[in-house]
């Protein structure tokens, strides 16, 4: 009698845990860190009272990419990465919009591995993206950049090299 009661209690406990787990999953209690960051960063940007500080547009996406690709680069190197995106937008060889270029599959490492969304862009990242949108192109028309210290496709070295800034080589 007592045994049967214990097992019933156990069964109830198990079902209870499973039920909570199921509800939790449905409610998204265990969403990944990156997703939370995204939500936080978005609402921060949206709540910002500053003039000309857009949320979901080219500037913000560019700054995100800069933070992902060039967070430890000098300021000029950050502008250069944003400028490559803009040069691609203007080139017939790449999609004609900023999101089209940034989210072209496998085009940027920080998009593929999610680093782009890891941290909200800093003021410096935003300023770099803005400078590139204002027309500053430290790469003079580069369509590619790569970090020679990392494993890169040997093909990339067949590009015409224009210059190198910080840890990146820029080419066309």
């Amino acid at each position: 009698m007592r045994k049967a009661e214990t097992s019933r209690r156990f069964l109830a406990l198990v079902l209870g845990i499973l039920a909570i787990a199921a509800i939790g999953k449905a409610q998204g209690w265990w969403k990944g860190e990156t997703e939370k960051d995204l939500i936080a960063a978005t609402s921060r940007a949206a709540a910002s009272p500053q003039v000309g500080y857009p949320t979901y547009d080219d500037l913000w996406l560019l700054a995100r990419l800069v933070s992902g690709e060039a967070h430890s680069e000098p300021y000029v190197g950050q502008v250069a990465v944003a400028a490559v995106v803009i040069n691609r937008v203007q080139s017939p060889r790449f999609p004609p919009t900023v999101p089209g270029v940034i989210f072209e599959p496998d085009a940027f490492e920080s998009v593929s591995n999610g680093i782009m969304w890891a941290l909200p862009p800093t003021d410096e990242n935003m300023a770099a993206a803005q400078a590139a949108l204002d027309g500053w192109d430290p790469t003079y028309g580069a369509l590619f950049f790569w970090n020679p210290a990392k494993v890169v496709s040997p093909w990339i070295w067949t590009r015409n090299i224009i210059t190198s800034i910080g840890r990146h080589v820029f080419g066309r």
Partner: protein, 453 residues
């Protein structure tokens, strides 16, 4: 006895929860993979469909006799080509750099659009343009056939070929045979060699890739000279003195020395970058990356600071044509005037920090690319005629002569009419030769400045 039962129950429970978690995790994973795959497949089949439509439209375009029909057909061809490009850019094949297919589609669309524009303006196509259209139609037909073969031969889900990639000639990644990547890489290689080179009046025309800067004149300078030019540029009128510390060569279409300057006298300010052309020693860019504090000076004062800065650097006969406000900076644009005619392509920009009024950025790339003295014939379409033409649709506020850039970097000598209609402001440009309406811009007046769209 009792204790081992508890353990057994615990283990069974853990296994049950773990199994359930793993099962739902796998299920989730599979759904994510499938939906990603679905979006890739959608892009692939859409791309093939758009190329098919493009092919049909180009074929029709060759037969169309009436201008109206030809304009519709060619404009639709542009739309289909752009849609095909957009789909192509969504395929998971970024690492294969299939840029020649992209470029071909961009040029076919752009070329069709430029012909449609010409016809819409009442002009007829030259023999050369007709021939180009035939060549493009044939090329597209070939492309379409190849894509149909690639897709039509499928009996199961297409494989992308992103696994089992080998390294080929010149380090190019080579996808496994029979995959989508393989098919498209072959197409890309063929188009790279065979696609016709087209020079016409569109942004993707061949000539746009090699525009030579016109105002970069003079003798080659040394890197030391470039350093001195940069120092002089930065230190003129500035309170803090800067000295050149490092330099970097920049190749490409406008070869420069990029000079880094450091503040002297122990001031803790960021380094400044100045780019000086290797020919003639012209300053292309100047940038002080100091983050400006909250805005304190008014915008009128900021514009004056920018104008003084530009004048002090040797630019004469410049007028301010616009300004754009960012949170703590103002970007002021000035254009050169030739005997009262505003040459919009010859522009420079100065960025003013709104905390102190210091100029923290300068950009002369536009000016250096296009500046020269132009031959301006006396207008055959008079100012009065422009006023009458514009007056029919809006209240005219101002008319002035201007040189305006077109999308293919060519220029038109126009009357610029500024006027209002329906509570909005516009700039309309009439060709001084024949009165043709070359361009309409809407002027956006906002607290952040005046700009055009």
């Amino acid at each position: 006895m009792q204790r081992s039962r508890w353990i057994t129950v615990g283990v069974v429970l853990a296994a049950l929860v773990g199994g359930l978690w793993f099962w739902s995790y796998n299920l989730d994973n599979m759904r994510v993979r499938n939906s990603l795959e679905a979006s890739y497949q959608r892009a692939l089949f859409s791309m093939v469909g758009h190329v098919q439509n493009l092919n049909t439209l180009l074929a029709k375009g060759q037969v169309a006799q009436d201008n109206g029909q030809a304009v519709l057909t060619l404009a639709s061809a542009w739309h289909e080509a752009e849609s095909a490009r957009s789909s192509l850019g969504q395929l998971p094949l970024g690492r294969f750099n299939l840029t020649s297919v992209q470029r071909y589609l961009a040029q076919v669309g752009d070329y069709s659009y430029s012909l449609a524009r010409k016809l819409a303006l009442g002009q007829s196509l030259t023999e050369r343009e007709q021939e180009n259209l035939v060549v493009l139609a044939q090329e597209t037909n070939k492309l379409n056939k190849e894509l149909q073969q690639m897709i039509g031969g499928l009996r199961s889900k297409p494989t992308w070929g992103t696994r089992g990639v080998t390294v080929g000639l010149k380090g190019k990644p080579v996808p496994p045979a029979g995959s989508i990547a393989d098919g498209l890489a072959k197409l890309d290689e063929r188009l790279k060699d065979e696609a016709p080179t087209l020079t016409y009046d569109g942004p993707f025309s061949e000539h746009m890739e090699n525009i030579k800067p016109r105002a970069v004149t003079g003798k080659p300078i040394t890197i030391e000279q470039a350093g001195r030019i940069a120092e002089e540029f930065v230190n003129r009128g500035g309170a803090v003195k800067y000295a050149a510390v490092t330099s970097r060569r920049v190749g490409g279409l406008l070869p420069t020395y990029s000079i880094t300057l450091r503040p002297q006298g122990g001031r803790r300010l960021p380094d400044i970058t100045v780019d000086v052309t290797q020919t003639g020693g012209h300053v292309v860019y100047f940038l002080n990356p100091r983050p400006p504090g909250p805005a304190r000076i008014d915008l009128g004062e900021a514009v004056r600071r920018a104008e003084d800065f530009i004048r002090a650097r040797g630019y004469e006969d410049m007028i301010t044509t616009g300004s754009l406000r960012h949170p703590n900076t103002l970007v002021v644009t000035q254009a050169w005037t030739q005997d009262g005619v505003v040459a919009y392509p010859d522009f420079v920009k100065a960025t003013v920090a709104l905390d102190t009024g210091e100029v923290v950025g300068f950009d002369a790339r536009g000016y250096l690319t296009s500046h020269r003295r132009r031959d301006l014939p006396s207008p055959r379409f008079s100012e009065g005629a422009a006023r009458r033409k514009a007056g029919a649709r809006m209240t005219v506020d101002r008319i002035r002569p201007a040189i305006v850039p077109m999308s293919d970097a060519s220029e038109r000598y126009c009357w610029e009419v500024r006027g209002r209609a329906g509570g909005q402001t516009f700039l309309v440009y009439y060709n001084t030769e024949n009165g043709q309406e070359e361009k309409i811009l809407q002027v956006i007046e906002s607290p952040d400045g005046t700009y055009t769209m």
